[in-house]
Symmetry: C2
Subunit: 208 residues, 2 copies
DNA sequence: GTCTATACATTGATAGAC
DNA sequence: GTCTATCAATGTATAGAC
């Protein structure tokens, strides 16, 4: 079954929007580009989503819920099976972002869309994200705090922020590291996750 | 001398563009917004800069050259006065970004513009940055390598990437850390720099 | 050399036929 | 639920007055 057919108009719009948002940003993507790629009429987007801003939010919700669920369940497992260990907690934060980016119909674009979301901090999107997914960060904050008792609450949040920034950049390929031609995209991202977890573990534990 | 007068049309456009780009991104900022804020005619931007894309590049060049010079000179000092020490090298990378964000006519917006630049990776801007400022990263890479001999070239570049990502986020206030009302913007950024340097030092030294 | 007026394309969104 | 036609607003770029 090819992936170009048997998708509803709504899903085709979401998919096309996701890819274009990842590539050109939100403001930089026109609804006409979206509907053209999705092979639907220009009016369909307003019929199904009401407005461009709402389409942006829906593009998020569709995958963000999955990623959040993945993170929280992996965190739960980590806390149960490796209590007091920092690395599994960090892995629970980083690896789901990696998983999202693997193959399954277009999730790869999504991690880049997330990075956009951070950058386009103006409109209601950031509030939308903070309102709906802020609790995830707090969960991880608590988990990390128990693994690294000496850390003040302030320091903890700074470091979580650094981790989130580094993760976003690495996953979005915003950085300077260019994937060598002989390394697959999947292997490259896997490497990124591994390196980042080590880097962040040391950073979060940093004393002095 | 107020800062609204005695500036050329060209400089007023650059200043207005910088602030608006920081706030709304490149695609999200219209030339009409720019010229309106700069209090010049809509056509002036095309007269002075030729196109919007070129205006974007010029907004960069104006401050990026300063920041690059600052970084390289501070790096030189660090290598001379504290040879073999990692932290002064990292400070030379991080602190100039902080310095740019202090007061002096609107540089604060610039660090946010830099973050935008990373995110808007599509057009010629990334190539422009890589072509003109890529050597800075290589300089720092070399300096770090001498401080942390065990590091492979690949690991080094991954970690530099993480540092750049975290720096960009922290300086652009993209993260979750919200500045408390009783802390000045300057103090907040200073704290960010200090925390990041410690975090990155540990991360870059990470073994295992 | 500098700016004003304006042309022209494209945007997001809506109305109404089918 | 989907389309065509079209709107007002806003985008970029140019021609020509000063």
């Amino acid at each position: 079954m090819a992936n170009t057919t048997h998708f509803s108009t709504k899903d085709r719009i979401l998919g096309a929007a996701e890819e274009l948002f990842a590539q050109h940003g939100f403001a930089g993507t026109s609804l006409r580009q979206v509907t053209s790629r999705a092979d639907v009429n220009i009016a369909a987007v307003n019929y199904h989503f009401g407005s461009k801003e709402n389409l942006v939010n829906e593009v998020f919700r569709r995958r963000m819920d999955d990623m959040t669920a993945l993170r929280l369940s992996q965190l739960k497992t980590a806390l149960e099976q490796h209590p007091g260990e920092l690395r599994p907690v960090l892995a629970a934060f980083v690896e789901p972002a990696l998983a999202m980016s693997q193959d399954r119909h277009g999730g790869g674009a999504f991690v880049r869309v997330v990075a956009r979301a951070y950058a386009e901090k103006n409109d209601g999107l950031r509030k939308f994200l903070s309102d709906h997914y802020g609790h995830v960060l707090r969960e991880f904050g608590k988990a990390i705090a128990t693994c690294v008792p000496g850390l003040s609450k302030e320091e903890l949040y700074w470091r979580l922020d650094f981790l989130a920034g580094a993760l976003t950049y690495a996953m979005a390929d915003f950085g300077l590291i260019k994937r060598p031609a002989d390394v697959t995209e999947a292997a490259h991202r896997e490497r990124a996750a591994r390196e980042l977890i080590r880097f962040a573990e040391a950073g979060i534990r940093a004393g002095n």
